[in-house]
Amino acid sequence: MNQDPGDARPAQNAGSESVTPSPDASARPETEADAARSGHVPDDVADSRAGQGTSRRRLLGALGTGGAGLIVGAAATGVALAPRLESGAGAAPEPTQGSAPAGVVSMFGPHQAGIVTPAQDRMHMAAFDLIKPNLKDLESLLRDWSSAIGYMTQGLPIGGSQGAGGADLLSAPMDTGEAVGLTAANLTVTIGFGRSLFVDSKGKDRLGLGSKLPQALIELPHFAGDMLEKARSGGDIVVQACADDPQVAVHAVRNLSRIAFGRASVRWSQIGFGRTSATSRAQATPRNLFGFKDGTANLKAEDPELLEDHVWSTGLTGEQAWLNNGSFLVARRIRMFIETWDRQALGEQERSIGRTKSVGAPLSGGEEFTEPDFAKKAEGGLAIEKDSHVSLAHPQQNNGVQMLRRGYNYADGSDGLGRLDAGLFFIAYVKDPRTHYVPMQKRISARDIMQEYVRHTASGLFAVPPGLNGAGGYLGQSLLES
């Protein structure tokens, strides 16, 4: 027992006189009915059952058409949403009808937002497990989440302008409030389903969705060197929240967790403090914690045909058809032994990666975006070593398959031995992990020189359903209603 009273001093609990109410998942349907009866429903989210205002579903629908739709939606209700929108618009350079205000990424479209969306600077990802696996909870959760995501991605508090607190002092506010006054910061929230949502570890159907298990939603094999922590891996549902403001991303996961209480609980969550990939040519290639540019050869939003070939699920039929226009998300928590890495001579570092540290040019010569020449000879062998990272990971060496990488640097403090617990939270979106991830990772794990400096500590594979096309829908609907 190394308990030193002087150290850990938990905060005193609030007494009966100043009780801090614990979070309140006001976004649940029964609550709306509740609130409607007591007459405290904010106008912009008034439940249609109460016979006033706009229903949440209709609101979502109205939001669907982007900025213009938003204005229409607000005009139709003619209420509290409008002033809030004005202030939001004020922050944008020159909002015009037909385009979303700056900093707002629409949650609507054939594909979910947060995949080809230019990679935001921050990420908070969380995986949830259903508490009592059943379809009713799953559907209500996805509906409530979709509604909340609709608000948050518009930069609004969940529940509308009064969502983070109005005149009602007796209830816990619907929204936790820490994002009030911040812009939407390009928030996107992307959800995916883990294999465990469909079948248990023995392959037995869990919720009645077993027949819809995508064939590609496999159990990832054990890769050489994997030291996976079960409590940080897997999960029934994953939520990826990305934003340019860390507070906005964390707010999203916090509120979605709160809404889920009683239906699903967080299995693990991970914060990424800086993007390591560019998903658009408008973005410069960022660096990972090894100090190297990462994702130079990444797929970009500007390559729709390539995305069609390598990222989006297409041509699925029958019980698998629900996943068309979706994708697969591979998540790997890759701890980097950066202290060891930092001591390596620059030559060794570049040899491991296969690129120069300064500009990120392949060791075969040229500039960052020059195609590597894997055949080029140099003194004593190949210019780019066969077991360098770029050689093993490059599409040229992987039957031309490509990934859309969307990873983040993470640092979870230190490990007690004076070393940073830091590394790369690798995220990739692929059409089929069996062809687009596993073969490459096998090779990397077995041979990559860089493997000496990394350790995979967590893993997740999720089927990402298609986007939300408009009115009345919810994320994941195609899975439940196909």
Binding site: Q12, N13, L170
Partner: protein, 394 residues
């Protein structure tokens, strides 16, 4: 939802008539056990508790209580869980006969004679059979709020009375150095404190004096109370045991603080309102979430699950006390939700029952702790709506 796990709906009527419906008289009663007019005679003293019948038909029920002893006495009708007091007569003087009259719905109950008005008293099972008679429920919300306050006040008093006698025994064993006995009584006695902890907290210095954990003690201040004794009973490595004089000092202080709590609760100045009851329920569950489910509360004895269960008991009693108000305002959905979630937590806790008590916290796996934490979150969400639903005018 298992109905048997829930408190009978009868609370409504019972609490409603608790004060208004009691007739007080000083007649000496007839000897008949249960006369034709449904009167159940009770005679109680320091040593006996004789209830003329073990069963009565639902509807109007009258207990006619005679104190045959020489000390002040008390009579209670309790819910089957033995926690919630549905009706009571306090301060029945020696030789005095008084009537406790109320409307009761069918179900299982307990009755208790509490001589001296301390401790749990003598308890007997009591059944109300279904007579088909309709039990009246007050539609007057202000009255229902008053009744809730009365009911909860009785409950708080009863728990502090049991805490008092329990603590007497514990302190006696602790001071005498009877470690085994003190350890056996420790968690069991604290149960009564944990059930009403927010009330103790409302008395300023009393809660810190009685229940502070080591990490909460500011440097330079003295550490007293239950957890001080806990560490001495379950010493960690390097801990220096208390001397007999120190044990006496800590024991006496705990005893006098417990007496103070009892006196405050029994004083006529003790006032609570519906807000306090609802927020108290939240406070108890917040306690569970903050220090019980994490195993921080009973760091040395590892009896955290006792406290956990007691906090949940207390929150449930508060909810059930306010239930008539929720019913009155049509918050049936919230009632159903809370019942379901309370039952879920309690069913889960029951898995860790060990005899009269609970298994040691360190026997729980990480997954089991997570499961408990999830159930607490699931309950606390709807529970945060309780106060608002109860205080609203309608």
């Amino acid at each position: 939802m298992k109905k048997s796990l829930l408190a009978p709906v009868g609370v409504v009527a019972v609490a409603a008539l608790l004060l208004t419906g009691c007739t007080d008289n000083t007649k000496t009663s007839a000897a008949a056990a249960s006369s034709s007019d449904g009167v159940i005679t009770v005679s109680e003293s320091e040593t006996e508790c004789k209830v003329g019948a073990a069963e009565a038909p639902s509807g109007q029920v009258t207990f006619r209580i005679t104190n045959t002893g020489s000390k002040v006495n008390e009579f209670e009708l309790l819910a089957a869980d033995g926690l919630r007091i549905l009706g009571e007569l306090e301060n029945i003087g020696p030789g005095v006969t008084r009537d406790l009259q109320m409307q009761v719905e069918p179900g299982d109950y307990q009755v208790a004679c509490v001589p001296g008005m301390i401790g749990a008293g003598t308890r007997l099972p009591f059944k109300i059979s279904d007579s088909g008679a309709k039990v009246e429920v007050s539609a007057d919300r202000a009255q229902l709020q008053k009744d809730a306050v009365t009911g909860y006040t009785s409950y708080v008093k009863a728990q502090s009375a049991q805490l008092l006698t329990g603590t007497q025994e514990f302190v006696k064993a602790f001071k005498a150095g009877d470690e085994a006995k003190a350890k056996e009584l420790y968690a069991k006695t604290r149960t009564h404190f944990e059930r009403i902890e927010p009330v103790a907290e409302s008395f300023g210095d009393l809660d810190p004096a009685m229940d502070l954990r080591l990490p909460d003690v500011e440097s330079g201040t003295e550490w007293t109370g239950w957890h001080r004794a806990e560490r001495d009973l379950w010493p960690d490595k390097g801990y220096k045991a208390m001397t007999e004089a120190e044990r006496k000092k800590i024991g006496d202080k705990l005893m006098s603080d417990t007496q103070k709590l009892y006196d405050l609760v029994y004083s006529s100045d003790f006032k609570i309102d519906v807000n306090t009851i609802g927020n108290g329920a939240m406070g108890l569950m917040d306690e569970v979430a903050a220090t019980k489910v994490t195993g921080e509360e009973e760091f040395y004895s590892r009896t955290d699950l006792y406290d956990f269960a007691s906090n949940v008991d207390g929150a449930r009693v508060a909810f059930e006390t306010l239930e008539p108000l929720l019913k009155n305002s049509g918050d049936d959905e919230l009632i159903a939700q809370l019942k379901e979630k309370f039952t879920a937590v309690q069913t889960l806790l029951a898995k860790y029952k060990d005899g009269e008590g609970y298994v040691s916290y360190d026997k729980l796996t990480k997954d089991q702790v997570k499961e408990l934490a999830d159930s607490v979150n699931a309950l606390s969400e709807p529970l945060s709506k309780l106060t608002k639903a109860a205080v609203k005018v309608k």
